[in-house]
């Protein structure tokens, strides 16, 4: 019955909901009142989301067995090739069209 509830808040309409903290409450009615007080008694929040912690589906493990660099920026090093290409272009006349 007593559960942990995660509280999300946003500062003003249009900004993103952000995780703000958590409260412990006997049920949702209590959780709502407690969240209002802890995260809104100064009018500092435009809105709150209340989510029982057990309803949150945390995804924390990612498989990373094979080399995935081909689809990331750190998988590319163009320095050497660029140097070679520039040197090659420098040996020929510098004009468009050739």
């Amino acid at each position: 019955m007593t559960a942990v509830y995660e509280v999300f808040r946003r500062e003003r309409a249009g900004s993103a909901m952000q995780h703000a903290g958590s409260i412990v409450a006997p049920d949702e009615r209590f959780a709502e009142i407690y969240a209002r007080e802890q995260y809104g008694r100064r009018g500092e929040s435009d809105a709150l989301w209340l989510v029982p912690r057990e309803a949150v589906n945390e995804i924390g493990e990612f498989v990373d067995e094979f080399d995935l660099k081909y689809r990331r920026v750190d998988g590319y090093s163009i320095k050497e090739r660029l140097k070679e290409a520039r040197e090659r272009a420098g040996a020929a006349p510098a004009q468009p069209g050739g």
């Binding site: 019955m1 007593t2 903290g21 958590s22 409260i23 006997p26 802890q38």
Partner: protein, 276 residues
Amino acid sequence: MPDEYRKRLTKFVEMHANSELMGVLPERDWILRAPTLQRKLALTAKIQDEVGHAQLLYRVVEDLGKPREACLDDLIAGRSKFHNVFHYPTRTWGDVGVIAWLVDAAAIISQKALLKCSYAPYARIMRKICWEESFHILHGRDVILTLVTGTDGQRELVQEALDRWWEPLMMFHGNPIPADEDPMVQWRIKSQGNEEARQQFLEGYVSQVWELGLTLPDPKLRRADDGTWEYTEPDWDKLTAVVSGHGPASAERIAFRRLSRAEVEWVSRAVLAEAA
């Protein structure tokens, strides 16, 4: 998370949570005695914030693995600690002003040093705490300024309170263990050593006290040419004794907590049980 780190972090946050909770006790009597409606509201809101901070901090401790009931058990049994300043009695309305102004100022310096804590949930709470405490200091200053511009009797309330609170304030930031020997700094839980924090406090607040024509009970207190503050070295053994429960009001406060917890134990039972 390395075991050593988790252990130290949990203990540190637990002491912080205990301090916020025990910090309520010296001040709550004065809600009734507050001499105007505005002061009554401001003081209630300040104390409410402290309870709220305790809630935020115990949640962090719970998520690190120690239930709050276990924390309260340890607190009541004298097995865990809380900050020195909450082991002292409050005697007058002057104390209320001095606590809100100077004790909270000392606390904010420590709290700011935690904003970059390596443990993100704690760092996040520190942002909320610092933001909320900004009004506490203003309220404290307002109370003090009103008293020192009042009757002689009212001025005397402030001076007398200062005379009693200065020693605990000088001890507040802890003994001057060098930052590179301080495990809390090593683990990047706090970003500032104890002596640095104390110097910051003195630099910020001594002049605020002196400019009101008030005195501080330390004849050695002065600012050297190089900007560092000199002062009579506090008795660090006394600090250790106070923090482990031998301060002037420690026993009374712990007893009060124990009693009030016993009174409401049935509520948790009634509220946790399945509906009849």
